[in-house]
Symmetry: D2
Subunit: 371 residues, 4 copies
């Protein structure tokens, strides 16, 4: 199944090479302003074909709202978003239909479905499903806007090299990533990232990367301990993004090298409110937000498709080992295009938690007319 | 809320210093053998007070089955497990009731609940809730047993130092960890781990660690792409364990340093079946199991409680900065006692997926009489 | 929110006067044959404009499959169904936008949404949402087909008068209802039903009705006691159909007039299997199917819209009592067009339970190639 | 599975003849006053052994709170309730272990579980599970109290005879039912109800009944159209109560005899607010509350157990038709003791919807200190 969220629930549908991809977002507060242009702007940031460093598939990714709005506002009914596929080129997949691509979902989809999965471009397991995720994230951000919550994500490392960690607040991160063709807020790293990716592409190879995300403006107390911890909810959605293989929060894996006396964030008082002097916890304690910046990292593996390069696979019809040379259009560093998806995932989880905040009396329901 | 699982659903309840802790496990297949001794054995592995390296709280952690079994088998009705608290010492918490401990849930629980949270020992957010998690995991393992699925977890690194990665299969990992007071399968690292932890304890400090987990014997095709990916489900439950701040799968964060040509696991044929020659994916492709060993890592932060050491906090009544010196009994490396919780989390997710496997026709429902 | 089902999950979206109505059906088994013509045939049975006794709104109700199929089979990915609105006439609603229609959702939708609901034709609360429900029901029936499970529904009573109860098995009920413009299996009642409805229509009024449903071919043991009882699940979905105000099973409300000695269905043995000699329980004991025919009734209120007749309402802008005369196109006995929706609801619940039956080992997963 | 509720979620566990029965209630707002005495009072109203008209099983039904409270208030953590079985007499069931009782869950539980179900007194499918339901309902009522929402239920008809419908507001209904050994608010019917039940008991038989329920003080707009309609949610939980075979709302089945012009409730203005002059809709339009009294009926079948009377069943070991004479202690009109369960079910659904009301801005989160 492919739905997520308790109060703001997203149901994805669609395939890479079918009629299109879409999402139903249920639980949107009635009155929330819904501007197609804002959703489109976020989709444009994720769109392929925008630079030499990303896939040359030409998709306009025009979003159409099928339901759930009236007069520019959400009605509170399920909001359906639909993006038609335009440049789906299924030809490369015909010859290789029985040849699962290494690193891709082909083999497991085939096995699970007993051969009934859509074999073209990964079918429903394609990274193309992040398009409706991003569109839904734009709607979620409208909820966050009413509370001054900013969410950013950017490309922090490429092939193990990157800028300083935790260098940007969420708004700066988001703004810089939006401007950067590499979706990085480390302007100083752009040239090196470009060089590394270009070099990989030329050698018919690909590179991985690390995405940082941050959120500012959160109240204290969103989330729950244990199964509904903010970490659990965020990680659940972040690992849903194809190619993500690791997630951590705050100091994360580096925390395992620290002593408790270094890692514990001391409490202090500022302007009559409890604050933390450091933020090794990444803005989450006991599963709930601390009001400090929420921070985390996402590990994105190198793109599995390596156009031109021969890889080893098995013909599922003949069960013979077979070389495979892919010719489709692909991204030499898929982490670039995963940035908007990471941002969208964080937005969706936080917007869900904001709705819980209304229920719990942590936040007041805004007058959406003024939002 | 604190329930998780779609087909095998666990609802946790209880507090560190209340009458006890428990779990209701719903969706247990009727006929599954339920032996109290096996559940108890797993609880014993997690129990405090067993060595100088862990908390000296003396809890017998005797599990009582309140419902859901008859004649030694599950009936299919909700199975309730109950563990009474015996050595809850609330006195240290009385004087410090208004002083949130750095690194703990106290502050966010207080804020969320407007002061109504149970302040003693973290209340419901306590690591003590991993006791019923471990008990439920023992039941889940009985489902996995019927399919020859083994799940292991062990302490892989302490304070950044450890054994070679991916060195053990799941059964070996589980067996060695069960024997080791440090819950590590790296016998060669035990002495150093002990030294590091002892030294931290003596300096009123604590250290973090990395836990590895593995599962063998899985069929191809458990899980779903995107929101119900095996990574998403596992990460959700793993991040529910207190002190966990990072999770990755297969090569994980290290994958971001690799090229696609190194990272992609080539397919091959062995005994007429598709296999993968390497396992950088950690046994998951497109969100579904590949049949290869499922592998991942969990980052556990250094224990937040530092007995004897002065930490800085805020008195929530007076709103004045205040030093805090804790005197409770605690673990200098909580990662040791998190090992059984990690194992339990993996078991619960995999058992849920096995039930999905029955629904999907990937696995046959066993005759539990013979299981 | 508007999603239902644990294993086969339907998410509805759309509005009466927006671009269209749709459903995402998640959990469809990969391999299930999906024929657009069969879905369309069911939609045609529900379609308005087919006789003088139903609404004259002209909707072709052409279903389009947006995702989830490949080569005529379900892929196992979410299956999205879309039906464009063609003859939505919003004009009658413009003048009366602030006048909630008695018996309709207008007033409560307005209050809940603080005026942001789509006021045209009930918006998302419209009976038009039963179109995608019926389409999804056709897919669910394909699952039931593989097990020889037939589901029928028909118009049993109009305005308190009808044929004998429990007179038809499910297949006969379905076949006769499909042929009858009144969707009744009581051929002998058609003339009287027609007369009653015609008379109501001429006097600018409407009548209610009772729908019977039945399902044959069920195995013993689908469902669960208490919260997931077959009665609970069916009633949940049946009461989701607009205008439904009562549901009972087997003898139902009449059981309250019976003695236990009359009502209890005696067990007997036939062909080596346990059977029941009577069926007052309606095929459900302890929340689970008995293998006997599942039987129940649905009370449908008289249509709320009474074209031409003056009704009393309140202008929500001026807060003054105001007469309202509706002029839209409507059904004098909405129970007729609710018949396919009732059938679809039963199909969806039973198909979900069949998937549970696979998980529980009650039923074997079919080879869908042969289904 | 046996859990229900989206925001206030109840998980039941336990068996009729096991150690006890319990519930975990998750989502209770932190700060809600929790008084054991109030929960106990509600349990006492449901308890067997209180008059000659109900079962003579002697259960004190003392509730114990295992978790989720501190200092007399809910902490917001899962609240576990536990009621030990004291007078479970399993002897009558030993001899008849293989003889499913007509009208009971025995046969379907046996079939579903392949013989692993607890055969004693219905196991988990027993009406005894309504004890924790009632206890949870008492907690839910504390939420409703803060908003002046009253919920009543009472025995309206016995064996087809009863008082006038809709004669009592919710508070009167609840108060009178609490005082009446028959749990009826129709004081004038008590003598006849008693006579009818006594007569049935003497002839080794039982009778059915109809329970009415009502809720006052609701705001406009709780619930959702379609799948989360108030009718759907209430019916789901009401049909979970053993022996319930029918549910309707407002005019309900009688609405099918009415014309639209009679049935539609005209809107009017009173004190500047929209009201309805009649209440045929039972306080629900378009799935949402209208602010008018919520009203419905529940059909309860005659008790299946008929002590002393020979009934026909099948020996599941020998598969031979076999007479069965039960000797356990039972209620000649189980509808009496179902009254508190109906009240509890309505309370739980409404409390869940009140929490949604906080999220939707329909209701303000109270200061529980003053509640």
């Amino acid at each position: 199944m492919n739905a997520f969220g308790r109060r703001l629930r997203i149901q994805l549908f669609g395939e890479s090479h079918g009629p299109g991809v879409g999402a139903v977002l249920d639980g949107v507060p009635p009155g929330l302003p819904i501007e197609v242009a804002r959703i489109q702007a976020d989709l444009d940031a994720r769109r392929p074909g925008t630079s030499a460093l990303v896939s040359q598939r030409k998709e306009e990714d025009r979003v159409r709202i099928l339901s759930g709005t009236f007069g520019g506002h959400a009605t509170g009914a399920p909001l359906a978003l639909w993006i038609e596929n335009q440049d789906a080129d299924s030809k490369p997949y015909e010859a290789t239909r029985h040849l699962p691509r290494p690193g891709h979902a082909d083999w497991t989809s085939h096995a699970w479905s007993r051969g009934f999965a859509d074999p073209r471009g990964g079918g429903h397991a394609s990274g193309r499903l992040t398009a409706p995720l991003v569109a839904a994230g734009a709607v979620a951000q409208r909820i966050l806007d009413a509370h001054g919550i900013a969410v950013g994500a950017h490309l922090h490392e490429v092939a193990g090299v990157g800028g300083p960690p935790h260098a940007h607040d969420a708004a700066t991160m988001a703004a810089r990533a939006a401007r950067s063709p590499l979706r990085t807020a480390h302007a100083e790293s752009e040239a090196e990232f470009t060089r590394t990716i270009e070099e990989a592409r030329k050698s018919q190879d690909s590179v991985g990367g690390v995405i940082e995300f941050a959120a500012d403006g959160l109240p204290v107390g969103l989330g729950d301990p244990l199964f509904d911890s903010v970490e659990s909810l965020l990680a659940h959605l972040l690992f849903a993004i194809p190619a993500v293989k690791g997630v951590d929060f705050g100091a994360g894996f580096a925390a395992t090298h620290m002593r408790g006396s270094q890692h514990n964030d001391p409490f202090d008082v500022r302007d009559g409110r409890v604050v933390q002097r450091t933020n090794n916890a990444g803005g989450i304690l006991g599963g709930r937000t601390t009001g400090t910046t929420l921070r985390g990292r996402v590990a994105v593996k190198p793109t599995s498709t390596l156009p031109g390069r021969v890889q080893e696979t098995v013909d599922l019809e003949t069960m013979a080992a077979t070389p495979l040379r892919e010719t489709g259009r692909h991204d030499p560093c898929i982490a670039i295009r995963a940035v908007p998806a990471v941002q969208a995932a964080v937005r969706l989880v936080l917007a869900d938690l904001v709705l819980q905040g209304y229920q719990d009396g942590i936040l007041d329901v805004p007058d959406w007319r003024k939002a």
